[in-house]
Amino acid sequence: MKSFSGKVLFLDRSDINTDEIIPAKYLTEISREALKPYLLEELQLDGFTSEKDIKGKSVIITRENFGCGSSREHAPWALEVNGINMVIAESFARIFRQNMFNCGMMAVKLSAQSIDHLFQVFSGKETSIKTDLEKNIFILKADGLEEKAGFSISDFDQALVASGGWVEYADAKY
């Protein structure tokens, strides 16, 4: 199973689309590793620079409708090769969310209030997150602050994460 803990990258915008996450011109790459330098290259967000802000991050916290647009699984792959295995958001586009779990990664929904609260408390601070998959709790820490946030994912999504993705799960079962 992948790791879902580490430093947090806050992206304070809704509707971040897959063309922003990984532009189509890189879809001709056959190796996933080749996508690494281009993650979030087209992101429109004041103060964000992909070269500086992505390095060392393991989890993204963002707003509504993350991953809208194209079906490209290159979006989760570009995250994965940069060491980011989880996105926490108010909501996700359907295909992106499914692609994440299909790859054994996590796309976790929290309420608008919880996301707002996390942005208020932690955004701008060097924040780390620890994910407890037994108790379904996130523990966020920064500057001596600590907050817990509960989450839920379906049994099916849990099974995909545990089995490392949909291919092995489906081939064994159907």
Binding site: T28, C68, A93, V167, D171
Partner: protein
């Protein structure tokens, strides 16, 4: 309790219910193209699972970058081509016989009412125009589809949009769907199926219905669906005539997928188009939509007519009517890409390509290329494109470029004036 179209299709395809409202359904078709499929093929090979569930239910095309523009795209084509050959996938369409996936697969009669279809392409929702459940998926879902012929979805919840009123002159299916996306927002139909119905849809051709369903994903929708009627049967007749004695019999069979009168919907929206104007997008999201008249001072550098949204013969005819006898503005580059080889030939036979060329358009081969900034019409930084495609995302048609989505009529009128222009004022 009554059922929606998607519920009826799901219920006839359920394989498993692994948890909650997640259903694994069997697939009638898995469509493949050379951008998202090679990674699935390579992964299957590396897992020692290089198999296909049914070569007759898998259809493949090279469409995104064709002809290949460099070694990498050539390799993607080769991986798909070699795979189709080794698994006896007979319905494989390569250059010279190919076309944009969501135009060529319906043209070949591969989608029927009641079918379930997936493809590693978000605009797969187009095929719902035939009353099918058709959804875009990522590479892993595609891979499992190829291997096992199944896919997992949440049990469908549906928004019904009742489109009423007579389509005003100069207004087309593209304007209707842009106005609907403007109303719903880019997140308004996420995890929902959209049923498009009403007198305005009844009056639409299959081509127009495909334009409508094509952009369901731009509101986040899983699939756009139209009900089967005689227009559906007429379109499919040449493929199904050996199976049904009469068109009425075929329709009777297909009608069982029409929704029940007491079906339960997540939402029902009335959308009156009798006063709709030609619409165009601004900004970088497809729900940022305005009437063309409010955008008429916008200068354009390139006009692109084509794509899975608006590259069909009807679209080309409409644009040609606007262009006939006119020259495009000197400062505009006009590019037209008929969506399939068949449409290309048809446009040639009807004299439409001559009209485009006389006007100063470049006619390119069928490909998705320009729509996603891959080839055949990539924008330079700061350039503006009037486009009949489906996404105005930042950098979509080239880094730093701006895309305005519109109908083929508006695009043609804009090519003539050099500014975003209503085709009725051209």
């Amino acid at each position: 309790m009554g059922k929606t179209v998607a519920e009826k299709i799901f219920d006839s395809h359920v394989v498993d219910n692994p948890s909650g409202d997640i259903y694994v359904i069997s697939l009638d078709a898995v469509f493949c193209h050379e951008i998202t499929t090679p990674a699935a093929i390579n992964d299957l090979v590396s897992r020692n699972k290089d198999r296909v569930f049914d070569p007759d239910k898998i259809k493949a095309v090279i469409d995104h970058v064709t002809p290949a523009k460099d070694s990498k795209t050539a390799m993607q084509g080769k991986i798909l081509r070699d795979w189709a050959k080794r698994h006896n996938i007979r319905d494989f369409f390569d250059i010279g016989r190919n076309g944009v996936c969501h135009a060529i697969f319906p043209e070949k009669g591969f989608v029927r009412p009641g079918h379930t279809v997936i493809m590693g392409d978000s605009h797969t929702c187009t095929h719902g125009a035939f009353c099918a459940f058709a959804a875009g998926v990522g590479t892993t879902d595609l891979e499992v589809g190829i291997l096992k012929g199944v896919c997992a979805f949440h049990y469908p919840s549906t928004i019904k949009i009742n489109i009423v009123g007579r389509m005003p002159e100069g207004v087309y299916a593209k304007d209707v769907i842009l106005s609907i996306i403007g109303k719903l927002g880019v997140n308004g139909a996420t995890n929902k199926v959209i049923e498009f119905t009403g007198t305005a849809v009844d009056a639409m051709s299959m081509e127009a219905r495909m334009t409508l369903c094509n952009m369901a994903i731009e509101a986040g929708g899983t699939c756009g669906i139209c009900y089967p009627d005689m227009t559906t049967v007429e379109y499919l007749w040449k493929f199904i005539k050996n199976k049904y004695q009469t068109k009425e019999k075929a329709l009777e069979k297909y009608k069982k997928f029409s929704p029940d009168s007491d079906a339960k919907y997540h939402d029902v929206i009335e959308h009156d188009i009798s006063r709709l104007e030609p619409m165009v997008t601004f900004g970088f999201k497809p729900d940022q939509v305005k009437p063309v008249r409010e955008m008429e001072k916008t200068k354009v550098d390139q006009v692109y007519i084509g794509s899975c949204t608006n590259g069909r013969i009807e679209d080309l005819r409409v644009a040609a009517r606007v262009l006939k006898g006119n020259k495009i503005n000197n400062s505009v580059r006009g590019i037209i890409s008929p969506a399939t080889s068949k449409i290309f030939r048809q446009a040639m036979d009807e004299g439409i390509l001559k009209i485009f060329m006389d006007a100063g358009f470049c006619v390119t081969n069928p490909t998705c290329g320009a729509c996603l900034g891959m080839s055949n019409g990539v924008l330079a930084e700061g350039e503006v494109c009037a486009s009949t495609t489906n996404r105005n995302f930042n950098g979509r048609m080239g880094k730093g470029g701006n895309v305005h989505l519109m109908s083929p009529a508006t695009a043609a009128a804009s090519a003539i004036s050099g500014y975003i222009t209503n085709s009725l004022n051209g």
